[in-house]
């Protein structure tokens, strides 16, 4: 049963959710979120922003100091037993039983969630294949690489077929290839499961998330789809130019028109609101800059994140 609000189904809702440690450290500060059923929702924020604390409260591991939270309409404090039936989590640490093999780890979790022996056996083998770990299924997990352990950890979170899946830094420490492979797997859950993930990788949130919430010092500072967040940057664009023919006169001329331009070892970077490509090209020709290549970029989630969480020069523009 999903919570409904104006006809919208929400799988996860927090209402002024707060958590203090000791008397003075506020890890989560009046956080109110609504995660739609079936969406992939990313919590972004710097270290210590309160992402993991939020996940722990939603998973019934940590008692909120204030406010409340609901998973599929069930209160995480008063109905923890019911909440635990419908969620599963892949913690930030890999959290596997090291002396068991891959199959046994999955089998254990499946049985704990009440799956029948036949069902859990079949699902364990399916998950192992889905994660591309078929050749290692009988190996003790302490012999696996970090990437394989991470995939196993996510498989353990998925084997109970949870309606809400929490992934705390699912790709931390993985190389680019392993990360991409996990992204594909998480992306396949879109529309089928509600996934709430925390990540440090903005590219990951951009790729995977239907919506992103940026939290800083425990507070929600921005929320929206990645595109909405980028649009809120006020149309700041970047043109990166590689050139061997940039003299100081030309650089100064460009800087007069685009004050935020910067020279670099390979050329220059022009930043500005609503940059018009032709205008920039005309200026470069006027200043007799011979361009080797150039690239025009819309604002990235990195720009949004830096602007929101701390003192990027974009502040000056927007």
């Amino acid at each position: 049963m999903y919570s409904k609000d104006s006809g919208m189904s929400y799988a996860v809702q927090t209402f002024n959710l707060s958590r203090k440690f000791g008397n003075d450290r506020i890890a989560v500060d009046s956080l109110s979120l609504k995660v739609k059923a079936g969406e992939i929702f990313a919590l972004l924020g710097p270290n210590g922003a309160g992402k993991t604390t939020t996940i722990k409260m939603l998973c019934c591991l940590l008692k909120p100091s204030g406010g409340r939270a609901e998973i599929l309409g069930k209160d995480v404090q008063t109905e923890a037993g019911k909440v635990k039936q419908v969620i599963n989590v892949s913690p930030q640490e890999t959290a596997v039983a090291m002396n068991l093999n891959l199959f046994e780890n999955l089998y254990l979790v499946g049985k704990i969630y009440g799956l029948s022996s036949r069902n859990v056996r079949q699902k364990s083998l399916e998950m192992i294949d889905l994660m591309g770990l078929g050749e290692r299924k009988w190996d003790k997990v302490k012999k696996l690489s970090g990437g394989m352990l991470r995939r196993l950890s996510i498989a353990m979170a998925m084997i109970s077929d949870p309606e809400v899946l929490f992934l705390d830094e699912p790709t931390i420490g993985l190389d680019a290839k392993a990360r991409r492979s996990l992204w594909k797997m998480i992306e396949s859950l879109k529309g089928k499961k509600t996934v709430l993930l925390t990540t440090h990788y903005l590219e990951e949130a951009d790729y995977l998330a239907d919506r992103v919430a940026i939290i800083d010092q425990g507070k929600l500072v921005a929320i929206g789809t990645p595109d909405e967040l980028k649009q809120n940057m006020g149309g700041i664009m970047t043109i990166t130019i590689k050139t061997d023919h940039l003299n100081s006169t030309a650089a100064e001329g460009i800087k007069k028109v685009y004050p935020l331009s910067e020279t670099s070892t390979t050329g220059l970077v022009i930043k500005g609101k609503d940059l018009v490509f032709d205008d920039v090209i005309d200026l470069l020709r006027k200043e007799e800059v011979k361009v080797q290549w150039l690239a025009m970029n819309e604002p990235s989630l990195d720009d949004v994140y830096l602007k929101i969480t701390g003192g990027d020069e974009a502040d000056e523009i927007a």
Partner: protein, 244 residues
């Protein structure tokens, strides 16, 4: 049933760890052979080194290693967040206690069998008392397992092993495994008999001597009370450590 799945996993962690197998079985066997050799080669060796007196002492001492491993596994699960993963599952508090304690019961039984078998090789005569001693050994094994859960709940992965080793030392010195506490007397005797280990060793020795269970009721009562108290402490510590 869910707790049995956790039990099965903990048991696998024990028997797949070669160090665990060696420490749970090898030291008692070594002690039995060593002290028996001393007794046979030195006519002035203390009478406590005879198999009837030595086997109960070494058996109870071997249970100290159960506390060590129960504590280590729980502390490791806590530190590695494996326990956190399990705490988000539908497992209930009782499932965790059963899950972390039950697997050590068959291990304790194996230790009793091994110690008794080695004792018989060294001259222990098999009688009803040897079978009846299970009624003393199993509760004191449960005391040690509960202390292990207590250690694993309170201490971290690096601190749990030395604390477990401390318990083994306490059993060794204050349990009267290789010295008669009554002969030592004084504060050692008082502390020794304030703890359950000396009672268990004494009770098993009396049973080995041919007495029936009724004779050791007083010792058995102390052990059972300690068992209940250690359970209460272990459950409280686990609850305190894992509460949201």
């Amino acid at each position: 049933m869910r707790s049995l799945n956790l039990s099965s996993r903990v048991l696998k962690e024990v028997y797949r760890d070669p160090v665990a197998i060696v420490l749970l079985i090898f030291p008692p066997v070594l002690f039995l052979f060593l002290f028996s050799y001393i007794a046979s080669s030195d006519p002035n060796a203390p009478s406590v080194f005879s198999p009837e007196l030595l086997v109960p002492g070494v058996t109870v001492l071997s249970f100290g290693f159960l506390a060590l491993f129960a504590g280590m596994i729980l502390a490791r699960d806590r530190q590695s967040a494996f326990l956190a993963r399990l705490l988000t599952s539908p497992l209930k508090s009782a499932d965790f206690i059963v899950g972390y304690m039950i697997p050590f019961l068959p291990v304790a039984f194996l230790q009793i069998i091994v110690c008794t078998a080695v004792g018989m090789i060294l001259g222990l005569s098999f009688n009803t008392g040897v079978i009846l001693s299970l009624a003393v050994f199993m509760p004191i094994a449960l005391v040690c397992i509960a202390i292990g859960v207590l250690i694993g709940s309170v201490f971290g992965e690096n601190t749990a092993p030395p604390v477990g080793s401390l318990l083994i030392m306490v059993i060794s010195i204050l349990g009267g495994a290789w010295m008669d506490l009554k002969m030592i007397g004084g504060i050692f005797e008082s502390i020794g008999y304030a703890l359950p280990f000396a009672h268990a060793i004494d009770a098993a020795r009396v049973l080995y001597g041919g007495a029936d269970l009724a004779v050791v009721t007083q010792e058995l009562t102390v052990i059972v009370l300690y068992m209940l108290a250690s359970f209460a402490l272990a459950i409280t510590a686990f609850w305190w450590r894992t509460r949201p």
